[in-house]
């Protein structure tokens, strides 16, 4: 919110004339952000990042970054926490996985192309988000959070029970998106998906809808008094976020090629995304994305350094989130904007 105005004022003042910069700005990037994006895109071509396991980490980073943006779209703007985010993502993944299935292990073999399946999964996830939002968003935000959690647990239970379709806890193996064993093409696909998620959601938040979202998030009574129907906008926001969660889930299914309810849909997965979005800075959308990449690397380092201390990275996650929550709610995005402000202040 405040972060964005600071950024745009900065751009308007100094570089209004430059068409490239104004284009970047129109899709939600500052020159610095665009530079970071280019660096991230070129990373897998440079050693030491061109090793396959490093590319896998980068893919994980982009995957988490996109999730953080979609999550923050709801949590940071309308102040509703979708506590079943991971389960909805899993719903998209499983839907796409089942629709594209050709192996006789499962009861049905529709054999649709994964490129279509991903969107089918996304649409179903969006519809579930729509229904869930319609049911709970008339009430206080906490109802939506808890109900999304219940629905998430129920979805996990469904996946576990419909063994003919999902093989339950044994897990299923969806077909791959590409016929290649290299990770690099997948990296560019998820990077593109991340960009699409971010830019589309950014365009929405720039529109009148975005204004309504912010108004609702800041003061719902005042928003109502200004003639905004909070339920309508909140449901819309919730459904859109769920749609993208399902879409990303589809990528997960056809990239990792293995789905189990526990590793994909568990509440702790939602908490990981939530922590990322909050450490990045709520209401910024890009904060969580910036944090995601270094985080994945840091966590993988921690994991390989302290193999006997399983779960250490999760404790650090939680502690960071609490500290940010209580003492510095603007997160990394707030910090970056503060530095920017200092610099532009010094220049004048």
């Amino acid at each position: 919110m405040a972060s964005e105005t600071v950024a745009s004022v900065h751009v308007d003042k100094t570089e209004r004339a430059n068409p490239v910069v104004s284009f970047l700005h129109s899709i939600g990037f500052t020159p610095l952000g665009a530079a970071l994006l280019v660096i991230v895109a070129l990373l897998p071509l440079v050693p030491p990042f061109n090793q396959e396991h490093m590319i896998r980490w980068l893919i994980m980073g982009a995957f988490l970054a996109a999730q953080a943006a979609a999550f923050d779209f709801t949590a940071g703007y309308i102040q509703v926490v979708n506590f079943g985010f991971a389960a909805i993502l899993g719903l998209g993944a499983y839907t796409s996985g089942i629709l594209t299935n050709t192996s006789p292990v499962l009861a049905v073999q529709p054999g649709i192309s994964p490129w279509i399946g991903i969107f089918a999964g996304a649409i179903l996830a969006g519809l579930v988000g729509l229904g869930l939002g319609w049911l709970t968003l008339r009430l206080r935000g906490i109802f939506a959070a808890v109900m999304a959690w219940f629905v998430g647990i129920a979805l996990m239970g469904l996946v576990r029970n419909l063994t003919e379709l999902t093989r339950g806890p044994l897990g299923m193996n969806p077909t791959s998106l590409l016929e290649t064993t290299s990770n690099l093409p997948y990296y560019y696909i998820i990077l593109a998906m991340m960009l699409i998620v971010y830019v589309l959601l950014r365009l929405v938040t720039r529109s009148n809808y975005g204004l309504a979202f912010k108004a609702i998030g800041q003061n719902i009574a005042a928003a109502k008094a200004s003639g905004i129907n909070p339920t309508k906008y909140r449901v819309l926001n919730f459904a859109l976020s769920a749609f993208f969660a399902g879409w990303l889930g589809g990528f997960y299914a056809h990239y990792f090629g293995s789905l189990t309810p526990q590793t994909l849909m568990h509440t702790s997965k939602t908490v990981e995304v939530l922590a990322l979005a909050y450490i990045g800075g709520r209401g910024s959308m890009w904060g969580g994305m910036v944090v995601a990449f270094p985080f994945v690397f840091g966590i993988e380092q921690l994991r390989s350094q302290f193999t006997e201390l399983a779960g250490l990275h999760l404790v650090i996650y939680g502690a960071l989130m609490i500290v940010v929550m209580i003492f510095y709610p603007d997160g990394v995005a707030g910090l970056v904007n503060w530095v920017k402000e200092k610099i532009s202040g010094a220049r004048e």
């Binding site: 049911l135 008339r138 219940f150 719902i220 702790s268 908490v271 939530l274 999760l314 502690a319 609490i322």
Partner: protein, 343 residues
């Protein structure tokens, strides 16, 4: 300011004035009779005993929400801490008893463990309130419910993973608290532990009830739940009431974790199911409604038994959610009503 809870009215009034509640209660009784006819009295007794435990857990949750406006997501971790404390207190005593039997100590040892868990819960509650909720309250009251919710999520995450880190993911359990033959009630054999756990729940709830209704401090807690500002103007010190409330709720959860140690055992993620059940109860009964939480505990236990009986245990996660969707559609404020719709 809306009234956040209804300690004020008696149980009968709450029920008769509330149509959805009466319908649900009648339906629950019918369901109980059906279960009784189909499977015999054992399942009914089971439901009542489980209901007592869910009620004890849900009361703490309702209290924290009613008084502090905190949607407590680390309630299951209080349960987990209670289970661990009881294990680490009870087990050494039990081992030494194995070497030198002492019937009196043998009978009293489980209570020592459970009491220790309760005390640990009180301490943990005060610490969490002082060091986390208090600074957050100082910083901002805006968006409090969501912020507090996320804070408890963080607490839960740290406690669960921290326990894994320190104590490992392995299960620590005991086969039973009292090494005596099971009781027979109405022709049903029941482990003594289960019966005692039920009575611990009833006594704890009764104590809480007495405390809230009859003591000065208890009345102050109720006053805060009804009108925070008004209570402050009457000279009630929130910096005393909030830690006390949070400590009480944590202690109640710790006691239930301790008294169910023989059933659940102690491991880092043991709190998840109790947390789910407690939230389910308060969502159904009405957030912040303490009486509703007590009655709701038993209703949910019957529903749970019915689900397991008629659909099989693997659907235990799915059917209750469907029921909850219906409840939210028809009576979004909960069947006992808590007057907190929208915004």
């Amino acid at each position: 300011m809306v009234e956040k809870s209804s300690f004020g009215s008696s149980i009968m009034e709450t029920i008769t004035e509330n149509l959805p509640a009466s319908i649900v209660i009648v339906a629950t009784i019918v369901l109980t009779i059906v279960i009784g006819v189909v499977t015999g009295p054992s399942q009914i007794l089971n439901s009542i005993i489980t209901g007592g435990m869910w009620a004890l857990l849900a009361v703490g949750l309702a209290l924290v929400f009613g008084v502090m406006n905190v949607p407590h997501f680390a309630h299951g971790e209080s349960f987990m801490v209670g289970a661990y404390v009881a294990y680490f207190v009870f087990n050494p005593i039990n081992t030494s008893l194995g070497e030198s039997p002492n019937p009196f100590l043998g009978a009293i040892a489980p209570f020592i463990g459970i009491l220790a868990a309760g005390v640990a819960g009180l301490i943990l509650g005060v610490i969490l309130e002082r060091f986390l909720f208090y600074p957050l309250r100082l910083r901002t009251k805006q968006g409090w419910v969501m912020n507090a919710f996320l804070l408890t999520v963080g607490i839960s995450f740290i406690l669960t993973n921290g326990t894994t880190l320190v104590l490992g993911p392995n299960f620590r359990g005991i086969p039973r608290y009292w090494d005596v033959p099971p009781l027979t009630i109405l022709g049903v054999t029941m482990a003594v532990d289960r019966v005692v756990a039920f009575f611990i729940a009833v006594v704890s709830i009764a104590c809480l009830w007495f405390f809230l209704r009859r003591t000065r401090t208890g009345r102050a807690i109720r006053a805060v739940s009804q009108d925070e500002l008004g209570a402050q103007m009457m000279g009630i010190n929130l910096n005393f009431i909030f830690p006390l409330t949070f400590a009480l709720a944590t202690a109640l959860a710790a006691i239930s974790g301790a008294s169910l140690l023989f059933m659940f055992q102690a491991y880092p993620t043991v709190g998840l199911q109790p947390l789910y059940m407690a939230w389910y109860v308060v969502m159904m009964a009405g957030l912040g409604n303490v009486i509703g939480a007590i009655v709701g505990g038993f209703i949910v236990a019957v529903l749970q038994t019915a689900t397991q009986q008629f659909f099989g245990i693997s659907w235990a996660d799915v059917i209750p959610t469907v029921v909850m969707i219906v409840v939210l559609l028809v009576v979004p404020q909960g069947i006992f009503g808590s007057k907190i719709r929208s915004s």
